[in-house]
């Protein structure tokens, strides 16, 4: 029952309103100064920062700017050309090349070891 209500709400919203955003090049919303991405993002997007930390990318040090660039060449959603740098085979084999890899593979929490429920160790 609750589900149906929510569906209704969404449909209503879809039909009822519209905004006025123009689509354009992605822009980093803040000036970065000389700071590293994580200096802010650990605070402003703590979930993402933590997801990253525990991801395969986090373990091997593929940091924010590797995929997203910095304020000069910021990309919100990295294109497949970015992913290709390391995952060339997977990009080649992509059955739907027009789709961005990031659509399905959420790089911030993508881990190869989900099955083992692995957490970083704090060795003593």
């Amino acid at each position: 029952m609750a589900k149906k209500v929510m569906v209704f709400v969404i449909m209503m919203m879809l039909l009822a309103f519209a905004g006025a955003y123009a689509k354009g090049k992605s822009v980093h919303p803040e000036k970065m100064g000389s700071q590293d991405c994580m200096e802010c993002h650990a605070d402003v997007t703590p979930e993402i920062a933590q997801q990253w930390e525990h991801s395969a990318h986090g373990f091997v040090g593929v940091k924010c700017q590797v995929c997203h660039g910095d304020e000069k060449n910021f990309v919100k959603t990295p294109t497949n050309d970015t992913c290709q740098g390391c995952h060339a085979l997977q990009v080649d084999n992509n059955t739907s090349p027009a789709t961005s890899c990031a659509t399905c593979h959420k790089a911030h929490n993508f881990t190869i070891h989900k099955a083992h429920d692995y957490n970083p160790t704090d060795v003593k």
Binding site: K3, V9, M13, F17, A18, G19, K23, A98, T99
Partner: protein
């Protein structure tokens, strides 16, 4: 995430241009074109409803695109998010003033 299976209506002579225009958007994937080159079948993927609506509004600004009709939506992610309480559905746009603004342009 909301997925929409949609049909874009075009004039046959503009079909190629329209297709190129659509391909520029990373949220859009072109799947098929009708034989009479009047309809383009696309899948649209957006973060949420608002973005979808904005995108369609923007698409309609192009001369080569006549109309977009959504035939099917898939939004189980969205529903799940709302049910889990991670997302609160936005109700802006429902107010009188904003509706007025929208209709007036």
């Amino acid at each position: 995430m909301i997925y929409s299976g949609s049909v874009v209506y075009v004039e046959p002579e503009n079909c190629g241009t329209a297709k190129e225009t659509l391909k520029k958007y990373e949220q859009i994937e072109v799947f098929a074109v009708s034989d009479d080159r009047k309809q383009i079948v696309i899948a649209i993927e957006t973060e949420g409803d608002r973005e979808l609506e904005d995108l369609c509004r923007e698409l309609k600004e192009y001369d080569e695109i006549l109309e977009i009709a959504h035939h099917i939506f898939h939004f189980e992610d969205e529903v799940e998010e709302i049910l889990q309480g991670r997302k609160v559905p936005s109700l802006d746009g429902f107010s009188k003033s904003s509706r007025k603004k929208d209709f007036n342009g």
